[in-house]
């Protein structure tokens, strides 16, 4: 997000790009985004068995069909519940870790910071396998909570990264200034740290929510018989009937994940200006 910001800085734009480069960039963007548009398009097709192009006709009937399909709702609720709880856990724990990392200097701090961000660098299969075997060893039955724990491992990292970056940009002196003026630790947290951290936490939380909502790999390893929405969709694709219903759900997933990311982007962008403005 930060790099997008600096690239859009007019001072950094060099000489104008050549026509060939522009065409290549445009082709690249089409390649990335056209399939998404196709998914939207096929949510409206009248043909339910194969995705033939162009669609023979357009209809909005699949939205109604999807609404009435009872098997969609449990995975949707499960996904929402898992993403919400994992995000709340991540906000609490991620903030605490960030506060510890940015305030204290102790032996092994760098190594510990690496360990904290490792879950997001590790392939999901590794995280999933290790969690699954750990749950097995500890004889914890698979449930909604095991999925939540799995998701929390990488959600914490998202919140931590956002919080730690904001804390770094905050003038360290403002905590001391608060104490100097007579505030105890709780007052400093309440009146200085939290207001300055708020938008970063919200942004981190939204990103974490979006990541959790469409996570498949770790979920496959840590879920028992339950399906989250992405897993339900994957299973649905294999079936021959009512295919556009999957596309309707895809639109919902798209909205549920893209909007938080977009909001998070704008929140941290505004935050960087106000946080830096104090200096």
């Amino acid at each position: 997000m930060r790099s997008d910001l600096s690239l859009s800085d007019p001072r950094l734009s060099g000489p104008r790009a050549s026509l060939g480069l522009k065409a290549a960039a445009f082709a690249g963007l089409l390649f990335l985004h056209l399939p998404i548009l196709l998914i939207f398009l096929y949510a409206f097709t009248t043909e339910e068995k194969t995705y033939q192009f162009p669609p023979p006709g357009l209809t909005t009937q699949w939205f109604g069909v999807a609404w009435n399909r009872a098997d969609i709702w449990p995975p949707l609720w499960l996904s929402l519940k898992v993403a919400s709880v994992a995000t709340i856990l991540a906000i609490i724990l991620g903030t605490l870790v960030a506060a510890a990392m940015s305030r204290a200097k102790f032996f092994g701090r760098e190594q510990l910071s690496l360990l904290v961000i490792l879950p997001i660098a590790l392939p999901g299969v590794i995280t999933g396998m290790s969690l699954r075997s750990a749950f097995g060893v500890m004889e914890i039955p698979f449930s909604t909570w095991t999925i939540i724990l799995g998701h929390a491992t990488f959600c914490i990292v998202i919140v931590y990264n956002n919080a730690v970056a904001r804390m770094r940009r905050l003038s360290g002196g403002i905590m001391e200034a608060s104490a100097d003026l007579g505030a105890n630790a709780f007052q400093t947290f309440r009146y200085v740290l939290l207001p300055n951290l708020g938008s970063a936490l919200l942004a981190g939380g939204m990103l974490a929510f979006a990541l959790s909502f469409d996570e498949v790999i770790v979920t496959t390893f840590t879920a028992g018989q339950q399906s989250t929405l992405p897993i339900w969709m994957y299973n649905e694709l294999i079936r021959p009937r009512q295919r556009p219903v999957t596309n309707v759900v895809a639109i919902v997933v798209f909205a549920a994940t893209f909007l938080p990311i977009l909001i998070a982007y704008y929140l941290t962008r505004g935050g960087s200006e106000t946080a830096g403005g104090g200096k």
Binding site: G173, D180, G182, K279
Partner: protein, 332 residues
């Protein structure tokens, strides 16, 4: 006179680094006390020991007679103007100033009224609704000052408060700070690495070097009678003369200091000349020209008032000075 702050044999070590090393210090009540020294000399650590953000490794610190070793920063009757001001970016100027009163639980109307009074004191009436980001450096400095003063501290600590300001503003703020201190009758402890600032503002001066106090005294004493080569060098770009040179000028075999402004240039061979040498450097300073003369391998600076003929580099000249201006220093 009561002591506002006393250090008794205070040390602060960071691992093997002795940031503050056996400091004894008394800040009299009502003083404008400057701690002067190069960076890393321990002056800022001393300030943080008073504010409570550092704990002494050994020794005892008293604020108005009370041992503060066990008192955390937020319970000490001192407030700080921080080097980078450390204003709260999310609060407007009024709420920044009122912060200390807010955490004490004063009502909104009362603390805002008090904040406006403080803003008037630092000549920032009408700026209450602005955010710190909308202020200039000088205005932020005033907000930081008002915010620290609103709690009515018994000692105000200032950590290089003028360092971020440009020269003209810095000079104006020096006068204002001095006037404010006189008006409030508060004890100010002021940390700076700028000797001009320390000399012009403070009535008491402690010169720090490598975690120790090199000299304490009035600015006049320290400028005129530096106790060591370090102080002579740091406080006034003074000439430091080695024992052999002092002896050849009629003094004992001891290190001595000589102010550039007490040295006059005369023609070589003139009977008034005490020592002759070669001009090796010239620097035009506006009101005067600083001339470097190398005699017996030692560079001696002289200030030549403007209007007098300036020698060229390589010319030979003699130096003349009042023997009383030669100040002998103990030790090296």
């Amino acid at each position: 006179m009561t002591a506002a702050v006393t250090f008794s044999n205070v040390s602060r070590h960071f691992g093997s680094t002795k940031a503050v090393d056996g400091v004894d210090l008394t800040v009299p009540e009502g003083a404008f006390f400057a701690m002067l020294g190069p960076s890393g000399s321990g002056k800022t650590t001393c300030l943080r020991l008073i504010s409570g953000f550092e704990q002494p490794t050994t020794g005892e610190i008293r604020i108005f007679g009370e041992d503060v070793s066990r008192i955390p920063p937020h319970l000490r009757a001192v407030n700080t103007v921080f080097q980078d001001y450390a204003l709260f970016p999310h609060l407007n100027v009024r709420d920044n100033v009122a912060y200390g009163l807010m955490v004490k639980g004063m009502s909104r109307t009362a603390r805002h009224a008090r904040a406006e009074e403080m803003l008037a004191l630092v000549k920032l009436e009408g700026y209450g609704d602005r955010k710190p980001a909308q202020l200039s450096g000088g205005q932020r400095q005033r907000v930081a000052l008002a915010r620290a003063l609103v709690n009515e501290p018994r000692v105000l600590l200032l950590d290089e408060p003028l360092g971020a300001l440009d020269l003209k503003l810095r000079e104006a703020m020096q006068d204002e700070l001095k006037a404010l201190q006189a008006k409030l009758g508060l004890t100010f402890v002021f940390v700076t690495h700028d000797q001009h600032e320390a000399l012009s503002m403070a009535d008491h001066l402690a010169v720090f070097n490598q975690g120790r106090i090199a000299q304490v005294g009035s600015p006049q004493e320290i400028y005129d009678r530096p106790s060591s080569r370090f102080v002579a060098d740091f406080v006034g770009s003074s000439n430091v003369l080695p024992p052999a040179l002092t002896q050849s000028l009629g003094g004992p075999a001891q290190w001595s200091s000589l102010r550039p402004e007490s040295v006059q240039l005369v023609e070589p061979g003139s009977p008034e000349g005490q020592i002759s040498g070669q001009v090796t450097g010239l620097r035009y300073l506006g009101a005067a020209t600083r001339i470097l003369l190398t005699a017996q391998g030692t560079e001696i600076a002289a200030l030549l008032p403007s209007g007098q003929p300036v020698p060229a580099i390589g010319d030979t000249r003699s130096l003349r000075f009042d023997p009383k201006a030669l100040h002998l220093m103990e030790g090296a």
